[in-house]
C-alpha cells in the first residue's frame, strides 16, 4: 500500500512482514484496557463562521458568511411570502407562486431557465413554507455571476405567462392525486389541518387542494407576487467563498433596483382552543404500517423557553437514543424510528411525536407513545440523561456549520425569526444552563396529553378495535385532507 507524508517511515514497524515488529505492535495493542471507554481530551474550542450584514438603499438586508474551504457559494433570497398569507379561497397560492418564479423569467422561457441553471451547475430552488418563501442557488464560485443573474431574473422578473400558469396548474393537479397514495404525505397534511383548523393560517394544505388548484387564475399569482415579493421584508443570505464587499457589489448590481413596497403585516392569528384528546383515523386499506402523529399546538420559535425545549426534545425524541426511539424501536421493534419535534414557526407551531409502526402493533405503539409522553412530564429527568442530551446538542454544534448549506440553514433560522445574529455565541451557555426542573417545567407547559390530537393513517379494519380498547378518547373518521367525512 502506498504511504505518503509524515508517516512514511512507520509501515516498516507495523506492516505485514517482520515477525518481531508485528509482535511489538500486537503487544502494544494487547495492553488496551477495553473495560471502560477512553477518557477524552477536552472538546475543541467553538469557532463558528461569522455573519456580517449590510443594508441596501431599497431596504434589502444582505447577510454574508465567509467560508473559503471549497469554491462554492450558497445564496438564499428570503421573502416574506409564505403560505400563512394564502387567501382563504386559494390555499396553495404561496407555494404555487414560488414554483412559478422559475417558469419563465427575464428573457428566458421555463425550459431555458432550467437549462441555464443546469449549465451553470447551479441548484436552483424556489419554494415556500408557511412562514416565508425562499429562492436559492448553490453553485461553484466561478459561476456565481451567472447564477446571480439568473436568480435576480427569477425573483424580480418572473413572466407568469398564461400558458405556464396553466401548465403548472395541470402538473400540480396530478401531483395532488399522487400525494393521496403516500400515507406519510397524507399524515403530514391531515395533522396540521386537525391541530390548527381551517381558519388558522397554518391549517390548510401547503400545496393546496384539488378545487383550489383547478381554480388558480394567473391574476391571483400576479397579485400575490406584487404584494409580497418586496425588498423591505426580504433578506439575501450568502454563504461560501465570497467576502462582504464582493457580495455587496454583486447583490447591489442585481437587486438594488428591486422596487420598494409595503408588505402587509404577518397574520397574528390566535392559536385555536385546545380540543379534548381524540383519535383521528384515516383509512388506508391494506397498509403494511400505520403512520402516527400525536400532538397539538406548540410555542412560537421566539419563545425564551426554546433552549429548554431543545433539551427536552433531545431527551424525548430528537436523537437516536431518545426515549421514543429507544422504546418503540430498540426495545419493542414496532418501528424503524420514532421521533418528536417542536416545529419552529413565527406563530405558535406544533408539537408532534411521530412514527410509522407495523399495523398489528398500532395499539401497542400508541400505549408506548402515551406512556413516554406522560412520563416526561411526571418524572424529573435523571442527571446522566440530561447531561447526555446537553452534550449532544452543544458538542455537535460545530459540525452543523461544516458545509455552506448547513451553515446557511442555521443562519437562515436567525434571519427568518428575527433572532439576534450573535445567537450562537451564547447558545452553548444557554443550553448548559438548562436544569432538570426546566425540562420538567416546559414538558408540563408544552406537552399536554389531555389535549392530544392523535392522527393515525392505517388499515381501519385491522386497527380500529385495538385503538378503541385503549380508551384514550373518541375515534373520529377523517379523509385524506384531515377533514370530516361527509
Amino acid at each position: 500500500m502506498k504511504t505518503v507524508g509524515r508517516l512514511g517511515g512507520w509501515p516498516v514497524r507495523c506492516a505485514a512482514a517482520a515477525f518481531l515488529t508485528a509482535y511489538a505492535c500486537n503487544r502494544l495493542a494487547a495492553q488496551v484496557d477495553r473495560t471502560k471507554p477512553p477518557t477524552l481530551p477536552p472538546p475543541p474550542a467553538l469557532k463558528l463562521p461569522v455573519i456580517q450584514t449590510a443594508t441596501l438603499e431599497n431596504g434589502l438586508t444582505l447577510a454574508v458568511v465567509e467560508m473559503h474551504k471549497v469554491p462554492v457559494v450558497d445564496v438564499q433570497v428570503m421573502v416574506d411570502a409564505g403560505a400563512a398569507r394564502d387567501l382563504a379561497d386559494a390555499p396553495g397560492l404561496a407555494t404555487f407562486t414560488a414554483a412559478m418564479l422559475q417558469q419563465g423569467a427575464g428573457t428566458r422561457g421555463a425550459l431555458e431557465v432550467a437549462d441555464e441553471a443546469a449549465f451553470l451547475g447551479a441548484e436552483l430552488n424556489t419554494t415556500a413554507s408557511f412562514d416565508g418563501a425562499v429562492a436559492s442557488v448553490h453553485v461553484p464560485k466561478r459561476r456565481l455571476d451567472g447564477a446571480l443573474d439568473l436568480l435576480a431574473d427569477v425573483v424580480l422578473r418572473p413572466a407568469f405567462s398564461d400558458s405556464e400558469v396553466a401548465r403548472q396548474r395541470e402538473l400540480r393537479g396530478a401531483q395532488l392525486v399522487q400525494q393521496r397514495d403516500e400515507p406519510v404525505a397524507v399524515a403530514n397534511i391531515a395533522f396540521p389541518a386537525i391541530v390548527f383548523g381551517a381558519a388558522h393560517p397554518y391549517g390548510h394544505p401547503l400545496n393546496g387542494t384539488d378545487a383550489a388548484t383547478a381554480a388558480l387564475a394567473r391574476q391571483r399569482v400576479v397579485d400575490f407576487y406584487r404584494t409580497y415579493y418586496r425588498p423591505a421584508g426580504a433578506r439575501i443570505l450568502i454563504v461560501g467563498d465570497v467576502n462582504l464587499a464582493e457580495a455587496r457589489r454583486l447583490v447591489a448590481a442585481r437587486f438594488g433596483g428591486w422596487e420598494r413596497g409595503d408588505v402587509p403585516v404577518f397574520p397574528a392569528a390566535a392559536a385555536p382552543a385546545p380540543a379534548a384528546r381524540a383519535v383521528y383515523l384515516i383509512d388506508k386499506p391494506g397498509a403494511a404500517q400505520s403512520v402516527i402523529r400525536i400532538g397539538h399546538v406548540g410555542p412560537p420559535r421566539t419563545t425564551p423557553d426554546w433552549y429548554a425545549l431543545d433539551v427536552l426534545n433531545t431527551i424525548l425524541g430528537g436523537a437516536f437514543t431518545s426515549r421514543l426511539n429507544q422504546n418503540l424501536r430498540e426495545t419493542h421493534g414496532y418501528t424503524y424510528g420514532a421521533f418528536s419535534q417542536f416545529a419552529a414557526r413565527r406563530l405558535s407551531g406544533a408539537f408532534v411525536a411521530l412514527a410509522s409502526v407495523v399495523t398489528a402493533k398500532t395499539d401497542s405503539s400508541l400505549i408506548e407513545f402515551l406512556k413516554e409522553l406522560r412520563r416526561i412530564r411526571d418524572e424529573p429527568v435523571p442527571a446522566a440523561e440530561l447531561a447526555k442530551a446537553k452534550a449532544y446538542v452543544t458538542l455537535g454544534l460545530p459540525g452543523e456549520f461544516e458545509t455552506t448549506s448547513g451553515a446557511a440553514a442555521r443562519f437562515r433560522e436567525l434571519l427568518a425569526f428575527g433572532l439576534p445574529l450573535d445567537y450562537y455565541d451564547h447558545y452553548i451557555e444557554r443550553i448548559n444552563a438548562v436544569t432538570a426542573d426546566d425540562v420538567q417545567r416546559v414538558a408540563r407547559r408544552y406537552i399536554d396529553p389531555d389535549h392530544f390530537d392523535i392522527v393515525v393513517v392505517g388499515d381501519r379494519s385491522q386497527i380500529e378495535t385495538g385503538i378503541k380498547a385503549l380508551n384514550e378518547g373518541p375515534i373520529m373518521y377523517r379523509d385524506v385532507w384531515g377533514q370530516e367525512i361527509k
Binding site: 507524508g5 506492516a15 502494544l28 437514543t321
Partner: protein, 459 residues
Amino acid sequence: MPRNAAVLIALGLLSVGPTIRLPAQSLRVPYQTFTLPNGLQVILHEDHSVPVVAVNTWFHVGSADEQPGRTGFAHLFEHIMFMGSRHVPTGEFDRQLEAAGADNNGSTTEDRTNYYEDGPANALALMLYLDSDRMGFLLPEITPEKVELQRGVVENERRQSYENRPYGLADENILKRLYPSNHPYNWPVIGSMADLEAATIEDVRRFFQTYYTPNNATVAIAGDIAPREARRLAERYFGDIPRGPAVTRTPPPAVRLDADVYATLEDRVQLPRVYHAWHTVKAFADDDATLDVVANVLAGGRSSRLYRRLVYDLQIATDVVAFQDGGRIDGKFELSATARPGHDLAELHRVIDEEVKKLADEGPTPREVERAQNGFEAQFLSRLERVGGFGGKADQLNLYNYFVGTPDYFQKDLDRYRRVTRAAVQRAVRTYLVAPHRVVLSVVPQGKPELAVKAGATP
C-alpha cells in the same frame, strides 16, 4: 436517520461524478495509508477547517454475498452490529457517542457495508474504541433475542421504505427479471420478509467470522486529526483483533437478456408508472461515466429531453427519472415515468422509445454534454465540503480505495466525465439501450392489469 439499506446507487456516489476546470490540485484529497499486521487498512486525511472528525469503516461485504434463502441478511447484520459487544453493553454504542456530541449510522449496498461516526475532534479515541470492540468482540454478546429485535426493526424498515410506499416494490420486481436466480444481484438489499424471518443466530456467527474480519475492512479517518496520534490510536484499538480467513468469491456468470421481458405489478397507486431496465457496465468501467451523462441528457432535471417531451410538451407524465447504476459485479440503466390522470403507459412508452432512438441516431448537442459535465462538477465540489456522513470525504476515500484501488481518485474520477464526448454518448445509447433486450415493468393500480404496457407495443 438510522441504518438504511442504502440505495446510494441511484442518486448518490456512483452517478455523481464531476467535470471541472479548476487547477488539478484543488481536487486532491491528500491521504496517508498503512496496513496493520492483521490486514486492516487505515486511511488518514487531514482537514482542519472545522474541529470535527469522521471515522468511516467499510466491510467488503454486501447483499451480493448472501446465500439463497437468506436475502437481506447483510443488512440485518449491519443492524446487529449496533447491539453491543463484549465491553460495550447494548445501547452504549449510541449513548456514549451522543454524550460526546457525535452521530453515527450505517448502510448496506449490494457490494459493501459501511459505518460512520462523525463528531467533535476530541472524540476520535471513543469512536475507534467502539468500532474496534464490535469488530473484535461482537459474537459473544449476540443473543437470539437481539437478533429477533433487529429483525423486527428491519422488517419495519422494509414496510416503511418499500411495502407502504407507492411503487416501493418495483425494484425487486425488476431485479429478479434482469438477473437469473443464481446471480448475486437477483434480489434487493432489503431482502424478502420470508428470508428475514428465516435468519438465525448461527447465520450471524458464520457471517461475522467470514466477512467481519480486519483483513476484509478499511477504516478512513478524516478531519481535524494529528496523523501520528490517529495512527497510534488505530494501532492501539484494532491491533489485537485477529486476522480472519481470506474472503474468496466465485465470479458470477455473465448475464444478458435473450428477449425483452414484460411484467406487471399491481400496487396501491392511482397513477401507473413504467420502468425500463437494461444491463450495462460495472462501476468505473469504460462507459460507466458516459452512461451517467446519457441519464442526464435523457432525464436529468427539467432541461432534459424526456422531461421536455413527457412532462412539459405533451403533459402526459408527472415525472421522469433515469440513472446508470454501476456495481462491483454488474451495472444497469434504469428509466421510469409516471402517467398523468387520463393518460396511459403505452403513450409514455412510445415517447421514451422515440427519444432514446433519436439520441442514438443523432447524438446529443455539445451543450447537453457540457451541461451534464458542469452539473457533475458542481455536485463533486459540494461533496468535498464534508468529511463525514454518507458520501463525505472519508466515505469517498473508502469507495475509491475499494473500487479502483487508490483512495485519492477524486481528480481521475472527474477526468472520466471530462473525457465524455458526443460520439461516446451516442455510441453508449446504441450499445446499451437500443441494441440489447430490456425489462419493461408496469406498476398499475390494483385490479387494472390492462393498463400495463403490452409486449410488442413498441413501434
